[in-house]
């Protein structure tokens, strides 16, 4: 009998371990983002109303500085690091060309956002905060997603 441990037989396969810790990293990233959504009040219905009525700079400063930071830090990451933690070349898939779907879909989402004051991120975050009526918003958001999937071929894109 040998006591030598063979990777993948006596221990968890290296790739599985890596996949699990990899997924955990995304859970932590989500936790981070959820905390920021609450602390910056982007998940506040009040702030969304204030924004759509142009009654405060808060949300505009928030989104503006987020975009500026994302732009600079993503450019730096691509220029000086270039590869992900897992060694893939960093690339951003370009969005499909066109404008109809962006205008029509964007307007539809915007109307929904202005009512209950939630975009998809805050739906999850507010649920986590124990605001259970968000389950109703989530259920109908899933229905809306399904309806798009069912009728997409009949919509202009």
């Amino acid at each position: 009998m040998t006591t030598t441990k063979i990777p993948g037989v006596h221990t968890a396969p290296a790739s599985t371990t890596r996949a699990a810790t990899g997924l955990l990293a995304y859970l932590l990233a989500g936790l981070y983002f959820g905390v920021v959504l609450v602390k910056s009040e982007a998940a506040s219905w009040y702030r969304i109303q204030e924004m759509f009525r142009f009654e405060s700079f808060h949300m505009f400063g928030l989104i503006g500085s987020a975009v500026l930071t994302g732009m600079v830090t993503t450019a730096l990451l691509r220029r000086f690091v270039g590869r992900s933690r897992e060694g893939q070349a960093i690339s951003v898939t370009p969005k499909e060309k066109g404008w109809r779907r962006y205008v029509l879909g964007g307007l539809t989402f915007g109307v929904g956002w202005g009512l209950a004051g939630v975009c998809p991120g805050p739906i999850f975050t507010l649920l986590g905060a124990g605001i259970w009526p968000m389950l109703l918003v989530l259920a109908f958001a899933l229905l809306g997603t399904y309806l798009y999937g069912a009728f997409k071929d009949r919509l202009p894109h």
């Binding site: 989500g30 928030l62 929904g112 975050t125 109908f140 997603t145």
Partner: protein
């Protein structure tokens, strides 16, 4: 100790929160070359939940490859639990005077919490209508437009994508219309 707790419970100004939101884009690219976008999870959830026989082609793909994003959504729940539950701000959102007036005109009282009590009172049928209609449009619109605030306004604009600029302007067009004209109609029913 109370000072520390007060600090942890207080909200952050935009110039702290904004850059931390923006950093999510390079963070996910570095973690695994992932493009930040939350609404895709609604599609993945449909792909998981729908029975095979009733599944439109749009939901027939290998959602297991997108598990990272479902984990991210799980993290959002935890983030809400920590920041909105355990360390909830005991003060109401510090709105501008103009916004306080507008919100009161809608029939909503400014109280602590992220969502007003008037909009979570499920004994009121008007609230069901508002939340259901809003959710339906968010789900349909984000998939039709190919993304939400995170995918288009944050990721798309950060990576200089024209379609995301069109989408973001449209989000605001729709939101301005609904917050100023449609919501008052709903609130007239709810009150």
């Amino acid at each position: 100790m109370t000072d520390l707790l007060d600090f942890l419970r207080s909200p952050w100004p935009w110039y702290v929160g904004g850059p931390l939101i923006g950093l999510t884009v390079p963070l996910l690219l570095w973690l695994g070359n992932k493009s930040f976008g939350i609404s895709s999870n609604l599609r993945h959830a449909c792909a998981i939940l729908l029975p095979e026989s009733a599944k439109p082609g749009f939901f027939r793909y290998d959602w297991k490859k997108e598990r990272w994003n479902l984990m991210f959504a799980g993290g959002l729940l935890l983030g809400g639990l920590v920041a909105g539950g355990l360390l909830a701000n005991p003060e109401p959102t510090r709105l501008s005077a103009a916004a306080v007036q507008s919100v009161q005109d809608l029939g909503v009282t400014v109280r602590p919490g992220l969502v007003p009590a008037e909009l979570t009172d499920l004994s009121n049928p008007g609230v069901w209508l508002l939340l259901a209609f809003s959710g339906l449009l968010v789900g349909f619109g984000t998939r039709y437009g190919g993304g939400c605030t995170s995918g288009h306004a944050i990721t798309g604009l950060s990576t200089l994508q024209g379609p995301s600029l069109i989408a973001t302007i449209s989000f605001f067009g729709g939101g301005i219309l609904s917050a100023n004209f449609l919501l008052p109609l709903f609130m007239a029913v709810i009150r």
